[in-house]
């Protein structure tokens, strides 16, 4: 049995053996070295760029997932325009905080896992099924998380059965919990969550929900040095995505720049942002 994808020859027996519809299971059987969790771990702590804040909020009709653009390594900004929010499939998205390199790889594998299942089975996984699959992947990364290479995603999607947007958050051990209303992960999440707690209402429109997450990211960047705010000079704006029954949509550059601009302009008059009523 050859594990070499370069070889052009007969399909190896493993390819034609009836088995599970999971791409990860196939990799584990056929070329386990390609699975991130199966790598030999080096000794000691590894320094690598970290992504920071991801926020999500539901509204009647869908869910919004957004992330800032900064990656940091220690006290240095490693990258100003990193992308941390990705479509997982047509009806779900994943945002990642933690070690950027591993997280991006995990997302790639997760996307493939969902697509592979869909192609083999001719049907998509349920939203719960997708959330559980992501859990398994984080759990397999625990060894690396112990060395400081943790990956903590936020998963959001449209549940076609329940007809609503749902958010799942994770801890480094793969523990999964469904969040109601809004959620945040990453170093700036404490501040983002505080902002959303005061601004969130259950009857937000899509437009209000996207403004809410940008406000929350602004507050996160305001108080957390590892989170990047809208960069007006370089025209780098947060990535905002919306998932509804029509599927995944990422706001165009024009839309997200307009959103960030209006939030920033209001902050020039009121640096602490919109205020909630006292009682």
């Amino acid at each position: 049995m050859e594990a070499n994808p370069r070889s052009i020859g007969r399909l190896p027996a493993a390819f034609l053996t009836p088995g599970s519809s999971s791409f990860m299971d196939f990799l584990a059987d056929h070329s386990p070295g390609l699975l991130p969790g199966n790598r030999k771990l080096p000794e000691g702590i590894v320094e690598a760029p970290h992504g920071t804040t991801i926020v999500a909020a539901t509204f009647p009709g869908g869910v919004v997932l957004a992330g800032d653009r900064r990656a940091t390594m220690g006290n240095m900004i490693a990258q100003r325009d990193i992308e941390k929010v990705f479509p997982a499939d047509e009806y779900s998205a994943v945002g990642i905080a933690g070690t950027a390199g591993l997280a991006v790889e995990m997302v790639k594998l997760f996307q493939l896992e969902l697509e592979h299942f869909e192609k083999v089975e001719g049907a998509t996984l349920s939203l719960e099924g997708k959330a559980n699959r992501l859990s398994t992947m984080i759990r397999s990364n625990l060894g690396m998380a112990m060395q400081g290479l943790a990956v903590v995603p936020l998963f959001a999607g449209w549940d076609e059965g329940k007809e609503k947007g749902r958010i799942f958050s994770y801890d480094v051990t793969g523990g999964r919990s469904e969040e109601h209303g809004y959620a945040a992960t990453g170093s700036g999440s404490i501040f983002a969550r505080g902002a959303m707690k005061k601004l969130y209402r259950e009857d937000l429109t899509e437009q209000q929900a996207t403004t809410l997450v940008v406000q929350a990211l602004y507050d996160a960047a305001d108080d957390d040095s590892a989170t990047g705010g809208p960069d007006m000079a370089r025209r780098i704006f947060p990535i905002v995505t919306v998932i509804t029954d029509e599927g995944f949509r990422r706001l165009s550059e024009a839309e997200s720049s307009e959103l960030a601009r209006s939030v920033t302009e209001r902050r020039l008059e009121q640096p602490d942002g919109p205020r909630a009523a006292l009682l």
Partner: protein, 250 residues
């Protein structure tokens, strides 16, 4: 110990080929056509769940005639091959040519190894390009040969007759409705030349549509959309889809 009868290699191969061809002929034929915006797959299939056409990768589709369990096995092998390759390198490095080669090797090895019975399948692997000139269609008969096809291709029992029918009538730049109707016309002709009706419920139709904004271009056409395409009258199709075709269509 008894001496086995001598069978000449030519005879052995001819027997195996005949065995495979007979198996394939038991199923219904299907056709794959190029149209203006991509490639359309059309076949008669009473089952809603067991597909003859499916997605392999972003721009690559798969069609098969013959024995279901055998081509399903090859299909899943192909999906695994494509996903592994795309994961190892890049999504752009998965090509129909590469996949067709792997299928050809697989079918060829099975066909010529004495220990295995030949697969009773005939496959089509198609890749839609960013423009019509980039479209690729490969036909893979049971013995592991590859035929690079253009315009239209038919596989299955009645393939030869359908192919010649299509060759005469297919032209470049057809609209989807036109190509679909031509395909149905071709499929509904019996071996003796008479026509029979294939209702929309018994048709399986899928496209690789290069105009789809998604990375994955494969799409099944079902229900209302299929009915609409089948009912669209030719003049209206020519008008709405491409006004410049009107003169050519009359």
């Amino acid at each position: 110990m008894s001496t086995p009868f001598y069978v000449s290699p030519q005879q052995a191969m001819a027997d195996r080929a005949e065995y495979a061809r007979k198996g394939i002929a038991r199923g219904r034929s299907l056709v794959v056509l190029q149209y203006a915006d991509g490639i359309v797959f059309v076949g008669e299939n009473p089952s809603r769940a067991l597909h003859k056409f499916s997605e392999i990768y972003d721009r690559i589709g798969f069609a098969a005639a013959g024995k279901y369990n055998e081509y399903e096995n090859l299909r899943i092998g192909g999906v695994r091959y494509a996903d592994l390759r795309g994961y190892t390198y890049d999504r752009d490095d998965v090509t129909a040519r590469g996949l067709a080669n792997v299928y050809a090797q697989t079918l060829g090895t099975i066909f010529s190894s004495a220990g295995e019975k030949p697969y009773e399948v005939e496959l089509v692997v198609a890749e839609v390009g960013t423009e019509p000139a980039g479209d690729q269609i490969y036909r893979l008969p049971h013995d592991g040969s590859i035929v690079d096809e253009h315009g239209s291709v038919a596989v299955g029992g009645n393939a030869e007759q359908i192919s010649s029918f299509l060759d005469q009538r297919h032209r470049d730049g057809m609209s989807l409705a036109e190509a679909l109707k031509l395909a149905v016309q071709a499929l509904s002709r019996d071996t003796n030349g008479s026509e029979r009706e294939i209702p929309a419920e018994r048709l399986e139709v899928a496209v690789l549509d290069r105009t789809r904004p998604q990375q994955r271009k494969f799409k099944r056409i079902v229900g209302r959309q299929l009915k609409r395409l089948l009912e669209a009258d030719d003049a209206a199709v020519a008008k709405t889809d491409d006004p410049s075709d009107e003169v050519a269509d009359e």
